[in-house]
């Protein structure tokens, strides 16, 4: 970067952000306006990092609008109008995510661990600190509960939190189909210390439920004898990949049916967990 380009270096500062073909001059004017609003006219300059965050927010909101409100506003609409629509969309997403958080608080799994509780305690800070007008792409809170299938790195801001909570709720719904005793017994076998380790609570239950369905054992018991496990292993090794994958998916379907869970999202989520289990089982045997 040369000195000549310094104060305008922002125009190329966000290489990962979806840039499409926004007019840099209009983008510059919009950023200038956002900086003026951000400093409330008290300062003509801001640190590069602040300007970068503001620019990322603009690009992110334009991207949200492009994805969420495709029919309402064409790309030829004024950039500020599209940006404002993106900000509104981000705010709506945050509101929806807040409802999901309330639902997650109302419907906890039968057993939880420290990471889960800390995350649920930390998430309200997101809604208190989220600022769609200036930093729509940011997540102003820290949480560490590991989901079975993590949120895509391509999501930011309220979209990230919404997807995180959607996944957490699906996991909770699955876990609530089991008794605390069955889960405790499973966790004690699966993890050394499920309560304090940074571990996912859904994964062992999903895997064991799939295996139970595969062997024809009652799913709610979440328990198989070593002989039953060995038999499943042998059965899966004796068939080809495609067939084994199909059996695992069918077993996941049966488990969900037996548990009375019908959500499409949960179905896809559990099937993915079953496929991942198959990969691990095959890797172990090789």
């Amino acid at each position: 970067m040369t000195n000549e380009t310094t104060s305008n270096a922002l125009l190329t500062l966000a290489p990962d952000a979806p840039s499409y073909s926004e007019n840099p001059e209009i983008l510059y004017l919009l950023l200038e306006e956002r900086i003026r609003r951000y400093t409330m006219g008290d300062s003509t300059s801001v640190p590069v990092d602040t300007a970068r965050r503001l620019l990322e927010s603009i690009l992110y909101c334009l991207d949200i609008q492009r994805r969420a409100d495709k029919n309402a506003l064409p790309d030829s609409a004024p950039m500020k109008t599209r940006w404002q629509a993106g900000v509104d969309a981000a705010k709506r997403t945050a509101k929806r995510a807040k409802l999901l958080l309330l639902q997650a608080q109302r419907t906890p799994p039968p057993l939880s661990n420290t990471a889960y509780c800390d995350t649920l305690t930390a998430l309200p800070a997101f809604f208190a600190g989220y600022d769609a007008d200036f930093f729509a792409q940011e997540i102003p809170c820290s949480f560490d509960y590991p989901l079975c299938q993590p949120v895509s790195d391509a999501l930011f801001g309220a979209e990230y939190i919404q997807d995180f909570l959607r996944r957490m709720l699906a996991e909770n719904a699955f876990l609530r189909a089991f008794s605390a005793d069955a889960l405790l017994s499973l966790y004690e076998k699966y993890y050394i210390d499920y309560a304090d380790l940074l571990v996912n609570l859904y994964l062992p239950a999903a895997e064991m439920a799939t295996l139970c369905a595969l062997s024809g054992a009652p799913v709610r018991a979440l328990s198989l004898t070593p002989e039953q496990l060995a038999s499943i292993n042998q059965k899966l090794l004796s068939i080809n990949d495609a067939e084994a994958r199909q059996r695992m998916e069918d077993a996941a379907d049966s488990a969900l049916f037996e548990l009375g869970l019908t959500s499409d999202f949960l179905c896809a989520y559990t099937k993915q967990a079953a496929r991942d289990l198959l990969v691990r089982l095959r890797a172990t045997c090789e």
Binding site: N3, E4, S7, T12, D42, T44, S45, P47, D49, T50
Partner: protein
């Protein structure tokens, strides 16, 4: 975003900044202070360099205009060293802006710098070499140069 567009925009911005500086002369000329075209170009470069060095971004209206407006009626600012003084003040301004963590507004900072400048009979060195804390304390409590030094002496004695 094409490189061509970016370069074009940079030229437009530089021209905007120079236009802004030309308007500054309208005010400062009342106090016998005029920026030459060469001086404006140097100031533009100094501003860009200061922003780069301090890791700051300035779009639209520049603080340089406010700095000129804030200093041009100082009895210690003379045409002979006007341009050189401005270059140093611009450097100092962006430095202090970072040093205060953006807690001072542009106007507050310029006012504090100006008071220091006048208190030390037009010494840019005094403005540059002071700490932000000293400058703000002097402004907040209206301390004079002597009182300011006495305070510092007292602090040293206490130690």
């Amino acid at each position: 975003m094409s490189q061509e567009n970016g370069s074009g925009l940079i030229l437009v911005l530089r021209e905007q900044f120079l236009t802004e500086l030309r308007t500054v002369n309208e005010t400062s000329s009342r106090y016998g202070l005029i920026l030459s075209e060469q001086g404006m170009l140097e100031l533009a470069q100094a501003r860009t360099r200061a922003l780069f060095d301090q890791g700051r971004v300035e779009l639209g209206v520049s603080a340089v205009k406010s700095i000129v407006d804030g200093f041009c009626d100082s009895p210690y600012l003379l045409q002979d060293d006007y341009e050189a003084t401005l270059l140093e003040l611009v450097d100092a301004f962006y430095y202090f802006k970072n040093a205060c963590g953006d807690q001072l507004t542009d106007d507050e900072l310029i006012q504090a710098m100006r008071e220091r400048y006048d208190a030390y009979a037009g010494s840019v060195e005094a403005v540059i070499s002071t700490s932000l804390e000293t400058m703000c304390r002097a402004r907040r409590f209206g301390l004079t140069e002597d009182a300011d030094e006495e305070d510092e002496d007292d602090e040293r004695d206490d130690k």
